[in-house]
Amino acid sequence: MSAPFANLKTIPRRLVGAFAVGVAATAAVAVLGLMLGMLTDIVIKGAPHTTWSFLTEFPRNSNMEGGIFPALAGTTLLVMLMTVLGVPVGTATAVYLSEYARQSSSLARMVRFAVNTLAGVPSIVFALFGVGFFIQFIGKRIDAFTGSSAFGDGSLLWCSATLAVLTLPVVIVSVEEALRAVPRELREASLALGATKWQTVWKVVIPNATSGILTGSILAVGRGAGEVAAILFVGVTYSSEVLPGAVTDKFMHLGYHLLVLSTQSPDVEAALPLQYATTIVLLALTFFLNFAAIFIRSRLRKA
């Protein structure tokens, strides 16, 4: 009886529904298209200039010619040192959260809160922290103590330390996930065989979570490699004739190089090919690291 009327009523509703779904689909496709468009634009304009000599040469003529070798090397050194400084700390925190803390304990909750908040702090604030804490507070004190003047200024070391702090949440979250994925039975078996808690953690749980620690480190490196704001005045430099020889030296960085090229070079238009090529290298580096992390993580989840 009421069926025809219901049908009449639902026709505009269905139209509205279909339209709305269409809008949502358009939004999704637009985001996808925007990203692909950006990627293609960068690749097309930069690919011809991304040559081997571009990767292996030093920049010449105030960065207007030549390659990006020192920036590439500087970025690599930076993320390596960052990993050495940050991953052990992040892993230790994750081990505490997953193995030692009771989930309801207030310390665990505060640590978790701190980690989550740390992840949302703008990276420029980390740069200020790097200046205020690492350079001004620690560095100046080391200098006063040793009588040198190497630590009281921006350097590779302080940039790495700043980035280590910045990427700490990334490491903690993914290591903790991996630790939780280790089956309870393994821990129980180990304890039942008479191993202490520490032996269980050190010899059973952590070895089983190595791929998670690896994933966390790679994700952190991916994040750190593209981060510019956090190291802006902590020791990165515009141009350098030599590679950094010590951790207290300044260094060149891919992202910073791109910033300088695109905003401060003598002739921005002429430097465009170099900018695109630098962008490709930076993107390739971060994407490679991200893909590696995703790959390892998906294998981890399957296992």
Partner: protein, 394 residues
């Protein structure tokens, strides 16, 4: 061996376990330390003289990074030749300090700074002629507050003006553009992905947007600076090539992955029973999505927007490269703006350590920290609790 002998705990184990606990606690301390040290450097403003120890020990030459950020200002300005009439004060400023930049000032400025509390040594010549306004620390303290609340940001001049108002406007309008573009796109894409997308498309969509999240922000900034800015100017004939809209679009690219990921998680976490009940009652797929699932996931979507705002608010590189960076007190999104974060990013490198300008920049940093911390704490403590409560039925 005695079967019942308790396993001995080795001292090394005790040490290892304790250090793990200490390291974990240090993470909490870290948050605290960030706040303390960013604020500590800002105290120069309120207690002139407390940082003299640091000022005095600044014999180290200015960092070599110092020659870039200010030069950036001019580069950005020269990018948009027709803005000069409106932003002439700013351009004049940057060219002035660019000029000053190459004056060797490593050896003599600490004394100058001490002699002239609060006045920037970069303007030695000018301040010699000017009347000594900054006399007592009390007067300085009073004038500081009024100085911060003016509508002019002119940190490098005879009478440095640290009005935060134009920076506030710049930040708010850029963030607003970013959210106005990023939030609807992100949420709609999340709705589509969670409820309507064919499985194959969903399998492309999610990693693709994750990939977008992996774009370093300097790359997004570069893309806006080079491509989007030109495109918008050519299409709409904009007066300024770099403006808050261009920066906002760049930030939207950074915000979309965050909004998408968190909303998608929230939408997918809504129990299937709700959807089935709604469909069983005869509502269409869209009605179900819009009237049932979206309200159910509202706290999560809300959290996504809040975190998106936090991201845009603190974004430095995109703002630095694409917003034009002129500190105008102008709400028009089509005119350039200068955000808080970009101000730190562009001026920190060449500022005199321990000066008033230095203190103001750290004060802005502290402000950024407090705002982002509050936004995060709010979502963490309030929104997530509500979400959990909702799905677990009180």
């Amino acid at each position: 061996m005695h079967p019942f002998r308790k396993t001995k705990t080795h001292p090394i184990e005790v040490f290892a376990e304790q250090s793990i606990r200490v390291v974990a606690s240090a993470t909490i301390l870290l948050i605290f330390l960030i706040l303390v040290f960013v604020f500590k450097e800002a105290t120069v403003l309120f207690f002139p003289g407390t940082n003299t120890e640091q000022t005095a020990s600044t014999d180290v030459p200015q960092t070599s990074t110092s020659d870039s950020p200010e030069a950036y200002g001019t580069a950005a300005a020269s990018d948009q030749p027709n803005t000069e009439s409106r932003v002439d004060s700013y351009v004049a400023d940057s060219s002035r300090s660019l000029h000053q930049l190459y004056v060797p000032r490593n050896a003599d400025y600490p004394e100058i700074y001490n002699a002239e509390t609060g006045n920037l040594p970069t303007d030695v010549a000018a301040s010699e002629a000017s009347t000594s306004e900054a006399s007592g620390s009390n007067a300085a303290k009073k004038s500081l507050m009024s100085n911060l609340s003016t509508t002019t940001w002119q940190p490098v001049s005879e009478n440095p003006k640290f009005g935060l108002w134009p920076l506030f406007i710049g930040t708010v309008k850029t963030t607003a553009v970013a959210i106005a573009i990023g939030a609807p796109l992100g949420i709609l894409a999340a709705i589509y992905s969670a409820f309507f997308a064919p499985r194959k498309l969903r399998q492309i969509l999610k990693p693709a947007i994750e990939l977008l999240a992996g774009f370093p922000s300097v790359v997004l900034g570069f893309f806006c600076l080079v491509t989007i800015a030109s495109f918008l100017q050519n299409t709409f004939g904009l007066e300024y090539r770099l403006n808050a809209l261009v920066g906002g679009i760049g930030m939207a690219l950074a915000v979309i992955p965050i909004v998408f990921a968190i909303s998608e998680d929230a939408l997918s976490a809504v129990p299937k029973t709700l959807r089935e009940a709604s469909l069983a009652l005869g509502s269409s797929e869209w009605q179900t999505a819009y009237r049932v699932m979206l309200p159910a996931a509202a706290p999560g979507v809300f959290a996504a927007i809040i975190l998106g705002i936090g991201r845009a608010f603190g974004e430095t590189m995109i703002a630095l490269m694409a917003t034009g960076n002129a500190a105008l007190a102008d709400w028009n999104p089509l005119s350039p703006g200068r955000t808080f974060a970009a101000t730190i990013g562009s001026e920190m490198g060449e500022v005199v350590w321990g000066s008033e300008h230095y203190g103001v920049l750290f004060l802005i940093g502290a402000l950024l920290f407090v705002v982002s911390f509050s936004l995060n704490a709010f979502t963490e403590l309030y929104v997530k609790q509500r979400l959990i409560k909702k799905f677990q039925g009180q």
